[in-house]
Amino acid sequence: MQSTTRGWLRWFAIFAVLALVLVACGDGGAEEETTTTTEAAAGETTTTTAAAEEETTTTTEAPAAGGGQFSTAISEPPFIDPNLVQDSEGFEVARLMFDGLTLYDPAGGAVVPGVAESWESNDDKTVWTFNLRDDSFFTNGDPVTAEAFVYGISRTADPDTGSRVSYHVGPGYADVLGFEEVNGGEGTGVSGDELLEGLKAVDDYTLEVTLARSNALLPKIVAHPAFSPIPQAVFEADPAGWNEMPIGNGPYKMQGPWEHDVAIFLDRNEDYYGAAGVADVIEFRIYADLATEYRDVQAGNLDVGRIPTEELANAPAEFGDRYLLISSGSFGYIGLPNTVAPYDNVKLRQALSLAIDREAITERILIGTSPATGFVPPVATGAVMDACPYCTYDPDLAVQLYEESGGVPNDELVMRFNAGSGHEDWVEAVTTGWSQVLGVTATFEPLEWAAYLDFLFEVGPDGPYRLGWQWDYPSAYNFLAPLYESTSGDNYSGYVNADFDALMEQAITSLSEEEALPFLAEAQAIIGEEIPVIPMTFGTERRVWTENVSNVQLNNFGFGLWENVVVNG
């Protein structure tokens, strides 16, 4: 017995010590990590500090022009490889690392020269020539040539790349000649080995793009990261490692490999051809939860952060002038199956829309978003204000139209949406409104993401459902053609209108964006009356920040202009 108990006591002691050592080791590991990253930073720039605590003291000595390090937040993106980047999180990072042919103008919906100094097209807008500047370099020193664009854009289209954003290169978007042959082909198993027929490097700094169809909007479309130049040699040397640390030509470059779910550190690119970034180092800290992110800003652990819905009401008061709200190019709507009875009845669609108190919902639940008054957010070129006459709250007219339409079977309807993404509250408010105003039994059913996609694509909706649209480029055309043109793959409501389709064709083949505006306006008038989907909200983006930083700006996409952020002394 004695030896037994002694043995146990020994095990107990070993166990306890082991546990403590584990904790201590792990902690040491974390410290080491931080030291290496800051050391790397110090190697690049003299102003960066050795340890986080000293940061404030050293940055006071930094020149007024900039320097220093700040942190902002994203959620873990699947990709930061610009050919694959598919969400706003990856976009935020890729935008700083890669400059395309053109760049979005932060002030409005226009584009400004990027790597392409100038561009021109033939008369029917099918052949475009981009003249590239010769002083843009990848951060490994290689020059950015027309070949790098041919390779990068082709790689996006290659099915072996498995990119979700390859549609940008295809029909309805850029529609580069030869897209179908590559993207619709068998694939070879190797990403980026098939080049698009329509892309031609005339010489090192001249890129000729031939389109399958006239497109006046091409300069806007190619500002997306999907059209980024890629250094072929770097990618091919280590395809698996590329997404961990892509090499680009933008104002910032990666400090070290992507620390998944922890952070991405970007250093200023000192060889950048354009205006240099202000801060030396930008940390994209990765959060899984907006509430935690916001609390970290409150506690001063994070410099710039987003705001969870629940805090939207309090944030302006709490942060004062360290709060920013902008309208962005996103559109939230309730989809209806236009080809399925009774939703093929225009009056029913109008009645459902009129029975929604958008103002109450946006003021109390989706606080900060604006109630949609049309089908295109005002920040997009070509948007028509108040294009939706049925987007007001008018219970009496709603009841009248509902009666005239014959209503829904048994006065019962179920709205479906994807669960766990913050849609529960407003959907509940919408269905409660339908129940009370129209006297129906409206309920809702949240579906898990995969099940929801199944419901949208495979099963096909049989009632109202939620979807949103985020623009790909800042034009009304991008809100209209994909969602309501009868041939579009994103037209889930199944809306078909020959007049609308004709207007879309006229708009895209116009010789300039200005010429297209009347067609776009007319198209909005048509859907305003027929209401193929119920517009709900126009998006907004918000940030709050600590006193550590200033000059925080967002562009119309809702992305931060992080290159302009000033770290305060």
């Binding site: 629940e310 309090n314 919902i361 109390r364 009370q436 059913e445 949240p446 995969a450």
Partner: protein, 322 residues
């Protein structure tokens, strides 16, 4: 997983060894239960927990009784963001009109909290019943027959033990989700499927222990049938630890349902569940603490009551802890 574990402290009450013949057994068993009851009755903790449980049970069966005196609406789904004058009605603090305030949708929170009891009680009782049924049958068979049967059942139990509970529950619940919405029944079934292994193991152990007692050997020698031995001698002596465990489990199960709902994989709106209410309330704690407080307190009270009861029952049934 481990932060919502099922592991519970349990020490199977020892059946005192002794020279007892078959004829004395039922008497002895009876006195064990009588003893336990006498012991229980004298404990204020027992009466406290029983009263709380009774209140919540009535609330679950007939919520109308509780909402009747409330000056606000008695319908938990009668909600509105604005009243007739256009004033916003959501997230009002508690008042004489709305005893517990109102929620995000402008629903009367008192009525919602009262109606929320049903889900918790149904889940708790039904899951425990399912878990106990599977556990007792499998554990009993394994313990009583032993040999190959025991081996197979024990391996199945091992598989479920090794399977992280929350992950298992989430996976299965997502599967069911595909068929169109999760119902209360789905949630009960899935949690139930994962709640039997411990009870099975405990019962198997105590059946083995009871089977080995001299009086069972004696009964067998006297030619009693397997069934008679099982029903008359083994069960009454082996069931006590399982009962103790089941009582405590009831509280834990209620917590598990709330946790799954909180994670967004349990019940879904428009169902009324305290877990869902806390899920909605969690990030609004600063502006509207009442949204977290009332369902949180209700949840805590009912779990507390069941665990307290389980504790008291254990003390009563297990002489060693006295």
């Amino acid at each position: 997983m481990s932060d919502t574990q099922f592991q519970l402290e349990h020490s199977p009450p020892g059946v005192p060894d002794g020279e007892i013949g078959e004829e004395e057994v039922s008497e002895r068993t009876a006195s064990l239960w009588a003893d336990a009851w006498r012991q229980l009755r004298s404990k204020p903790i027992f009466w406290v927990s029983i009263s709380i449980i009774t209140v919540f049970t009535v609330m679950a069966i007939a919520p109308q009784i509780f909402v009747a005196p409330s000056p606000a609406t008695h319908d938990p789904f009668d909600c509105s963001l604005r009243d007739a004058e256009g004033e916003f009605q959501d997230r009002l603090p508690p008042s004489s009109e709305h005893w517990f305030g109102t929620d995000v949708q402008g629903c009367d929170y008192y009525v919602r909290v009262i109606y929320g009891a049903r889900v918790s009680m149904v889940v708790g009782v039904a899951v425990t019943a399912i878990g106990a049924l599977i556990g007792l049958v499998l554990g009993g068979i394994a313990g009583f027959w032993g040999g190959w049967t025991d081996n197979v059942i024990s391996r199945i139990t091992d598989v479920f033990f090794a399977f992280p509970f929350i992950v298992g529950a989430i996976l299965l619940l997502s599967v069911i989700q595909g068929e169109g919405g999760r119902t209360l029944g789905d949630v009960v079934l899935v949690i139930g499927l994962f709640s039997w292994p411990t009870i099975s193991r405990i019962f198997r152990g105590s059946v083995i222990q009871a089977r080995g007692q001299e009086y069972v050997e004696a009964a067998r020698a006297l030619g009693a049938s397997n069934r008679r031995i099982l029903v008359r001698h083994v069960l009454p002596n082996a069931i006590a630890p399982a009962i103790v465990y089941a009582t405590i489990t009831l509280g834990v199960i209620i917590s598990v349902e709330a946790t799954l709902s909180f994670l967004g994989v349990g019940l879904q709106l428009p169902a009324i569940s305290w877990g869902l209410m806390i899920n909605t309330a969690q990030t609004r704690i600063a502006q509207s603490p009442h949204l977290l407080f009332f369902p949180g307190a209700a949840l805590f009270l009912i779990i507390f009551a069941f665990i307290l009861l389980g504790d008291a029952v254990r003390d009563a049934l297990d002489p060693r802890t006295r």
